[in-house]
Amino acid sequence: MNDLRDLALWRQFAAVAGCAVVAVVAVPAFGSDFVIAFGFQFVTWIVLALSWGLFSGNTGYASFGHGVFFGIGTYAAAAVFRHSDAPFVVALLVAGLAAGALALVVGLAVFASSRFSGDLFGLITLAMAFIVVTVVSNVAFLDGGTGVFVREHVVGSWAGSSTRHLFVIAVGLAVLTAGVAIATSSTRWGAALRSIRDDEQVAESLGVPTYRYKVLTFVVSAALAGLAGAPQAIYLGYVEVGAVFSLNIPLLVIMMTILGGITRWWGPLIGAASVVILREALLDLGSPELSQIILGGALVVVIALLPHGVSGAIPRRWGTRRRTPALEGGAR
């Protein structure tokens, strides 16, 4: 639990920024259209996995509603493009604000009662997804059941002209999300979140304002997912409820985080990479069902062999002493 003056923290920030610069320069320059499109999806999954880990991984409140925040961001951006000539950056901000606002309303209500912790919280976020899908489907301003063609509204704009640009935007969002994840891994804020996961009552008795921390982090996590929805709207070209709010999205995000582990901030990043690459490789099988079975089987194997995910199995360089490897946890 260091603070932002810690050099190690800034080294991690620098490493992330360095990787991002290399990706932004190399992928559009040398990659084919397929590689760039794959890269865009890959980085978007990283944003979703890291932002889910930020709240759910740190606090232990498993949310099944992360796909909703991503979807709200997608629809909010689509609505901006459809109803105005505002530039992309406006759509991006509206996407993040819309997702953050929804999380604020849900968080303020749900976290006010200790009854809605654990499994109940997961069910509430699932219920939230159904409500949002119904509302979006029936509000003409957003969708109204017909879907929205986004491409036709962004033709000629910088962000709409090329997947290369969307890739650069997605990398920028990934850097932002990783920066927040790094900050929570080593600061008082992150320690407070992990204390909530370990023993919320004791955390409160130590002066951790658990309600405030949960609401704030839930909002930040949702806003980051919402931001990722803006380039996604353009990438998809046509936005419709079934695809945007698919239950597969939060389930895959959770799977990525479990695979990668939550003991280190970069665990979800490893998980996202593993799942995205495995899914792509399994496409050659020609059977989506078989791919799903293999993907699910891989998750079961990882959980059985590496209960703390891939990142939890990698020894730490600096001697945090540990006698029993089973006792792990907390992003750092």
Binding site: A191, L206, G207, T324
Partner: protein
């Protein structure tokens, strides 16, 4: 320092505390003794704002803190080492100690609190990067006491600090409590080990079935036939 007036706590329909009143003078140590299920931990939780109070008052230096949240307690100068230690086992010793200084008021009061705890428990200095879940029960108790002390509390509440520890470790823990008590910290000690608890307390309260049934100085209670027969099993 601490005054409790007619405190009532219920668990649903069941009364856990039925009109408990007690007083702990500043700079003294008071023990709260009683058998399992007497209501000691419930009283401690209520004092720390971790358990809703049905009626009654908790006053700290005259200020009514009954309805203040648990997260406010460190600002008021209260700290607890809870029953069963309840450390953040997946964090290091140092991170556990730092969480004892999470509240800004605690940091203002005690910017060198971590060093204070490490001086009191030198073994923790060597183990500062060790995960608490990998430590022995005695070492964990040291961390729990250290975490409560880093904020230099005015009132330290210790809930069953000897629970589940080997006799030699219990002796060490009580030695440490004695050291703390000698430093003008007000201590409220909820404990089943009555000989040791009453031995270092100026005042003691015997709790049974959610009520204070006996009180007196530590020496008086240790000599009391009623206490000895009821709780120490002596004839």
């Amino acid at each position: 320092m601490l005054e409790v007036r007619d405190l009532v706590v219920n668990y649903g329909e069941a009364a856990a505390l039925r009109g408990v009143s007690l007083h702990v003078a500043a700079g003294t140590t008071a023990s709260l003794i009683g058998s399992n299920g007497a209501g000691k931990s419930t009283l401690v939780k209520a004092l720390l704002g971790m358990q809703p109070v049905a009626s009654g008052q908790i006053l700290l230096e005259g200020e009514d803190i009954t309805r203040r949240s648990a997260a406010d307690r460190p600002a008021l100068g209260m700290a607890i080492a809870p029953e069963g230690r309840r450390l953040f086992k997946e964090m290091t010793v140092r991170d556990n100690l730092r969480l004892g200084l999470h509240h800004p008021a605690a940091r203002r009061r005690s910017d060198d609190g971590i060093e204070l705890a490490l001086d009191l428990f030198p073994i923790l200095r060597k183990r500062s990067r060790q995960l608490c879940g990998t430590m022995s029960g005695g070492e964990q108790q040291m961390v729990a006491l250290g975490r409560a002390l880093v904020s230099r509390p005015r009132l330290l509440v210790l809930d069953e600090p000897s629970l589940g520890l080997a006799p030699i470790v219990v002796a060490q823990v009580f030695d440490v409590i004695e050291t703390i008590a000698a430093q003008d910290v007000t201590v409220l000690l909820a404990e089943q080990n009555m000989h040791r608890a009453l031995g270092l307390s100026e005042h003691g309260y015997v709790l049974a079935d959610g009520q204070i049934v006996l009180e007196g100085t530590g020496e008086e209670l240790l000599r009391s036939d009623r206490v000895r027969s009821a709780y120490l099993g002596e004839q």
